[in-house]
């Protein structure tokens, strides 16, 4: 009787003990499904050394799978508990911390086959407690061990093809630059939208009204914003030569800082540094529609004669362009954002489509070295058109080698 009383007193403290012992693989109190029996692990190729791929044959009757991992320097942790019943693979990233050096050694993995829906996880429960809870709802596989392998260079065909493309553009660019230096003329087709930029600046000068330049709403590292900054330099130079005025409306503060330097450089190069006004390069707001409202205010109140929208735009594109239309400004737009192009085409006088945006600065500068880069990308385009034609034929005939050549797995 005394022993029974002692047991009753001890039971609650045993139940609330914090140490949880993981149930050994292959055993569980209420197994209603089989454990995963053929779990395998591989380190993917061309990898950063942080990934491991698990594969198994899905178990009949399984409700879901949970994946648990043990790092060389740690305890078992729950990686995923929501893999659906038909799952037969899982790719794990051993660390999601971009700054962490992953611990060297082998990583242990187990799969818990769950027979039923697990209860919602409480906020204060540890991973070890949750794993123990899940193990009571199914069976645990044997442990497999794997070591992530970091590759020094990507060797996939797709990556090599991309490397060849970049080197091809670079090589052709240098070749045409050399040709230009030797005095051979490089001809490129006229682009009415780019020619209209100078006409628009001339119109603004005649009307005594400013030119409005909007470099999109994306960050400085976006290639369209970079292209827009390069164009702004040429536009500012032309504006200064015409002794007109330019207002630059920016959505991102660092873009404003760069735009300010670029406009200043344009005015200096044109020999009119005194005409440069820093207050005309304006930060409006980093919020999309607040920026849109502010820029609309500039269009409505300061009535620019010419509006130039070059860069990356989203939903504000049509609001800006329609306000400019109502204001009777000449409007020139350019973007590589396919979803916004129809709006610009409908509302603006001239629209630079996709690649034309990236050609503007070279075209406007007239510098043979820059124009040669357009020639280079044109030739690579010819190669792409040929590859598309050959690819269409080979895929129709049942061969996928060309398709695989341009496929880059894992981004």
């Amino acid at each position: 009787m005394r022993w029974l009383l002692l047991l009753c007193m001890l039971l609650p403290s045993i139940a609330s003990a914090e140490t949880v012992v993981l149930i050994p693989p292959g055993s569980a109190p209420a197994p209603q499904v089989a454990a995963v029996s053929d779990l395998s692990i591989t380190a993917p190729e061309d990898n950063d050394g942080l990934n491991l791929d698990l594969a198994w044959t899905s178990v009949e009757g399984a409700f879901a799978y949970a994946v648990v991992r043990k790092r060389p320097d740690g305890d078992w942790v729950l990686v995923s508990e929501t893999l659906p019943s038909g799952s037969d693979s899982f790719g794990d990233k051993v660390t999601t911390d971009a700054w962490e050096e992953p611990p060297a050694g082998t990583y242990d993995y187990r799969i818990i086959t769950l027979a039923e829906l697990p209860p919602t996880r409480a906020d204060d429960i540890t991973d070890a407690e949750r794993i123990a809870q899940l193990q009571t709802l199914g069976l645990t596989s044997a442990t497999v061990q794997g070591t992530p392998e970091a590759s020094l260079v990507r060797t996939q065909m797709g990556a090599l093809a991309l490397m060849a493309l970049i080197l091809g553009v670079g090589g052709l660019m240098l070749w045409f630059t050399r040709q230009a230096r030797l005095g051979k003329p490089i001809e490129i087709r006229r682009i009415p939208g780019i020619d209209a930029i100078e006409e628009g600046i001339g119109r603004a000068t005649e009307m005594g009204r400013p030119v409005l330049y909007v470099p999109g709403i994306d960050e400085l590292q976006d290639i369209q914003t970079i292209a827009s900054m390069l164009i702004l330099g040429q536009v500012a130079k032309t504006v200064a030569e015409y002794q007109s005025d330019i207002i630059v409306s920016c959505c991102i503060p660092i873009v404003r800082e760069v735009a300010d330097e670029v406009v200043k450089a344009g005015f200096y190069q044109a020999g009119h540094p005194d005409a440069y006004r820093p207050v005309n390069t304006r930060f409006i707001s980093s919020e999309q529609f607040a920026f849109c409202a502010g820029t609309n205010g500039i269009i409505s109140r300061e009535k620019p004669a010419t509006n130039i929208y070059l860069g990356r735009f989203f939903a504000e594109s049509l609001i800006l362009a329609e306000t400019g239309f109502v204001n009777k400004s000449i409007q020139i737009a350019g973007t590589a954002e396919a979803t916004q192009l129809p709006f610009f085409i409908a509302a603006c006088d001239y629209t630079l489509i996709g690649e034309e945006l990236f050609a503007v600065s070279a075209y406007l500068s007239g510098d043979p070295r820059l124009v040669s880069s357009l020639k280079a990308s044109d030739w690579v385009k010819v190669v792409c058109v040929c590859a598309i034609a050959v690819g269409t034929i080979t895929v129709t005939l049942g061969s996928t080698w060309l398709q695989e050549l341009f496929t880059i797995a894992g981004g």
Partner: protein, 212 residues
């Protein structure tokens, strides 16, 4: 020298960042993440300059009571009030009942939605101009747009005889000519982006380096 050092930095940093795609090793990614972090810090610092620019542009116009000075005064007062309550509420600014959250939910969000809602009217006016059958191309655009719009609403399918064919025709328009045009734009833009990137990395483009 003022432009040579930035050109050298651009060349090496540009190559280094391009290398991230071809060198997947985690240690390389830590270095590139470090560089990107520097970029983020610079961008965050630029917000202070943006704030200074806002005041520099707008405050003199309010002080001199220039044309439309009232709008600028509203903007500056809003800026100061939002900043003040943001700093006052500190880390609790997103909590229920916080003044900052109230401003965000009941002032900023409705104003934002109002601007977005204007888009509906602008789409109507732009579509009216774009869909006028002035020439063959505009007529093709008009017919294609009518087919797509009709097929996307229940009324389209209810049209006798052609109602059954409209969704199929719409799918063909969206999947064949539309996708073909979009892919052409993407390929051209990607090549243009590569050429622009190389021009900057190789130092052929210099207008972004500012004034000497």
């Amino acid at each position: 020298m003022r432009s040579t050092i930035p050109l050298i930095i651009t060349f090496f940093v540009g190559l280094f960042m391009v290398g991230e795609f071809f060198i997947p090793h985690w240690r390389y990614r830590i270095w590139t993440a470090e560089l990107l972090e520097w970029g983020l810090i610079l961008a965050a610092g630029a917000y202070m300059l943006g704030l200074a620019n806002l005041i520099q542009v707008n405050l003199p116009k309010v002080m001199k009571k220039e044309r439309d000075w009232g709008y600028k005064a509203v903007m500056l007062v809003s800026l100061v009030v939002t900043l003040f309550i943001g700093f006052h509420d500190g880390q609790h600014r997103h909590d229920d009942g916080a003044a900052y959250k109230w401003v965000f939910e009941f002032v900023f969000t409705p104003l934002n939605a109002t601007m977005f809602a204007l888009l509906a009217f602008y789409i109507a006016s732009a579509a009216f101009r774009a869909f006028r059958a002035r020439n063959v191309e505009a007529t093709v655009l008009l017919v294609a747009a009518c087919v797509v719009m009709l097929a996307r609403v229940p009324m389209g399918e209810a049209i006798p005889v052609i109602g059954d064919y409209l969704p199929r025709f719409m799918n063909w328009i969206m999947d064949v000519p539309n996708i073909a045009a979009r892919r052409a734009i993407f390929i051209g833009a990607a090549l243009g982006a590569v050429a622009t990137g190389l021009r900057v990395i190789l130092g052929l483009e210099r207008s972004h380096l500012g004034a000497d």
